[in-house]
């Protein structure tokens, strides 16, 4: 345990989290705590929802939401930019003003540099804040150290585009400037990673762009996994509309990178060259939760009580979204949304001395294959024997004959609208 944390800290020696720890106690309090307070770190798919649903259920609890950015850009539908279905990311960008106003959430736009679970304080660049309960939903960091040759500049040349924003725009620009006949390399890291269907949807989006604009080109997916991680039958069939443009290589884990040569090393096999390379490294919970001692034995994800999402390592700290290990619930925006509500409900119960409530969660992910065709996966989740599992005989994927694909694309557009509206108002 001790060794694990020490090695994790060493790994993150340059990270803000570790560097911030000595600050505890010195920095000034930003807002002195008057009553019961919950702090939420991260205003993404998980955090914004946890903050909102606590306030919806109990207006006597003060909720402070700390987020580094004034605007949030959604990863869901960001692959649409690569295909050219959207011209920019404005339809995927939301702010916090309405959310804060409608629910009386106090916004702090700042970078959290450390969490002290013993002192129950959060340290930001601007000062400290104390809490009664803390919800953490910071998303993911990349395990770039597992790729030889990866450095600070790599993502500027081989974008991951796995956090929506400038990285997504960079990848789109690279596709635009590539000559016809070029090769686009996409990569998928070993599972579990953020958005299991994401890399496979991205194949279709890039292929659609190539088909329409650069038909002599091709897109290769180097997948570290032995097979497509999500909806394999549906994706394979879906890619058929891009026959000749798509090449899928399973069990092709990228272990090294050479930006000068525009190539990646695939474990045990060879160098693969590309004109555009979308390198998505393997992932873990963020450095912040790592340095706060919230990461479990696997050294990657936060271990939580499956019913409440309270950390099993530190009391009164809850981890939701991609950073947590939520058993069978995949790392998706829908899961993070659902977890935010489960966590909020049990925090409100706990703070009012009421009995805690069994969780009931949902995940669904829509993936597009073309501008008007989509497929989906759905699951309902409950706790059994101390673990989050899928409710038997429920959930699953779209009809294999594709008969619903056009209809599902219409519903998917409304899904995005609803989930972003949930987060922003």
């Amino acid at each position: 345990m001790t060794l694990d944390r020490r090695s994790f800290l060493k790994l993150l020696a340059a990270g803000a989290g570790a560097a911030g720890l000595p600050m505890i106690g010195n920095a000034a309090e930003i807002m002195p705590k008057k009553g019961r307070r919950v702090i939420v770190i991260g205003g993404g798919y998980g955090g914004s929802i946890a903050a909102k649903y606590i306030r919806m259920q109990d207006k006597t609890i003060e909720v402070v939401l700390i987020e580094r950015n004034k605007q949030y850009i959604s990863c869901p539908f960001s692959n649409h930019l690569l295909a050219g279905y959207i011209k920019d990311l404005s339809s995927l960008t939301i702010g916090y003003d309405k959310l804060a106003k409608n629910h009386g959430i106090k916004m702090v736009y700042d970078e959290v540099t450390a969490i002290d679970p013993a002192a129950k304080t959060v340290v930001t660049k601007g000062g400290t804040l104390s809490y009664d309960k803390l919800v953490v939903s910071p998303g993911i960091d990349f395990r770039t150290e597992e790729i030889e040759g990866y450095d600070d500049k790599t993502a500027d040349i081989m974008p991951h585009a796995w956090k929506a924003g400038p990285q997504t725009i960079l990848l789109r620009k690279q596709l635009e400037s590539m000559a016809d006949g070029g090769t686009v390399i996409l990569t998928a890291p070993l599972a579990p990673f953020r958005c299991p269907p994401g890399p496979y949807e991205r194949v279709a989006m890039v292929a659609d762009y190539l088909k329409k604009n650069k038909p002599k080109s091709k897109v290769i997916l180097l997948d570290a996994n032995p097979d497509i991680v999500s909806k394999p039958t549906l994706f394979k069939k879906g890619w058929e509309m891009y026959a000749g443009l798509v090449e899928y290589r399973p069990a092709a884990k990228v272990t090294g990178v050479n930006t000068a040569a525009m190539s990646v090393t695939v474990e045990g096999i060879d160098e693969v060259k590309g004109n555009v390379i979308n390198l998505v490294p393997a992932q873990r919970a963020t450095a912040l939760v790592g340095s706060a001692g919230l990461i479990g034995e696997d050294k990657k994800w936060c271990t939580v009580n499956p019913t409440t999402f309270e950390s099993t390592l530190h009391k009164d700290v809850y981890v939701i979204g991609d950073s947590s290990n939520a058993g069978a619930m995949p790392k998706s925006g829908y899961s993070a949304n659902s977890e935010g509500k489960i966590c909020a409900t049990n925090i409100v119960a706990a703070m009012n001395g009421k009995e805690l409530i069994e969780m009931s969660g949902i995940n669904t992910c829509y993936s597009f294959l073309s501008h008007d065709e989509a497929i989906s996966v759905a699951g309902i989740y409950a706790v059994k024997d101390g673990k989050i599992v899928g409710v038997p005989n429920s959930g699953g994927i779209s009809k294999l004959d594709y008969s619903d694909a056009k209809l599902e694309a219409k519903y998917a557009n409304s899904w995005l609208k609803n989930i972003l509206t949930e987060m922003s108002s």
């Binding site: 649903y53 659902s338 489960i342 009931s360 759905a378 959930g395 619903d404 409304s414 609208k417």
Partner: protein
């Protein structure tokens, strides 16, 4: 520091192991999970996704049971409904039923609304009571529902992909496409 961390971690680990008991999922716990698609408290912001707020409890239960059995065709609700017990479904029906009707901010064609008003009286009002504001048994509330959602449903009915009650089919089949669209506009415009 490491020592302090690890002792604390062990103590808490033991704490987490102790078998806690939890109350069964509340109606809110169950229903909140649906809001990612259907909107907070069932008020949909997406025009193809139906609002569930203020839906009649009986019609809600009927729809969910038919999704579950496959009697009502669906793209995704069949897969989802199978994850809930009959009691869960009743609990969610209660939750959505008591929400305020969600008035979607949508454009309707006034002429179509006027035509729909005339047509509904004769063709639909026997079952869709109070101009769609009230549900009865398996008949859902349709007032203020999203127009694109209802247009999709009408197309599914017309193609036979979604089965409609025989008595409703008699009426629907006697009407033209434009007349049916006028009816959709009429119900969408109700508040």
């Amino acid at each position: 520091m490491s020592k302090k961390w690890s002792t604390l971690a062990i103590a808490l680990g033991a704490l987490a192991m102790s078998s806690a008991t939890f109350a069964a999922p509340s109606p809110e716990m169950l229903a909140n999970a649906c809001a990612g698609c259907h909107g907070t408290n069932g008020g949909s912001a997406g025009d193809t996704m139906p609002s569930l707020a203020a839906q009649s409890e009986a019609a809600f239960v009927d729809a969910m049971m038919k999704f579950k059995s496959g009697e009502r065709s669906s793209t995704i609700m069949g897969r989802l409904a199978k994850g809930y017990s009959d009691a869960d479904i009743k609990a969610m029906a209660g939750f959505f039923g008591k929400q305020k009707l969600h008035i979607a901010n949508q454009m309707v064609d006034k002429k179509k609304v006027a035509l729909g008003a005339k047509l509904q009286e004769k063709n639909c009002s026997r079952c869709h009571l109070e101009e769609g504001k009230e549900g009865k048994d398996d008949t859902p509330v349709m007032a203020a529902q999203w127009l694109p959602y209802m247009q999709i449903q009408m197309e599914l009915y017309a193609s036979g992909a979604r089965k409609m009650p025989d008595k409703m089919a008699e009426k629907v089949k006697a009407l033209s496409k434009d007349e049916l669209d006028a009816l959709n506009h009429f119900y969408a415009a109700k508040k």
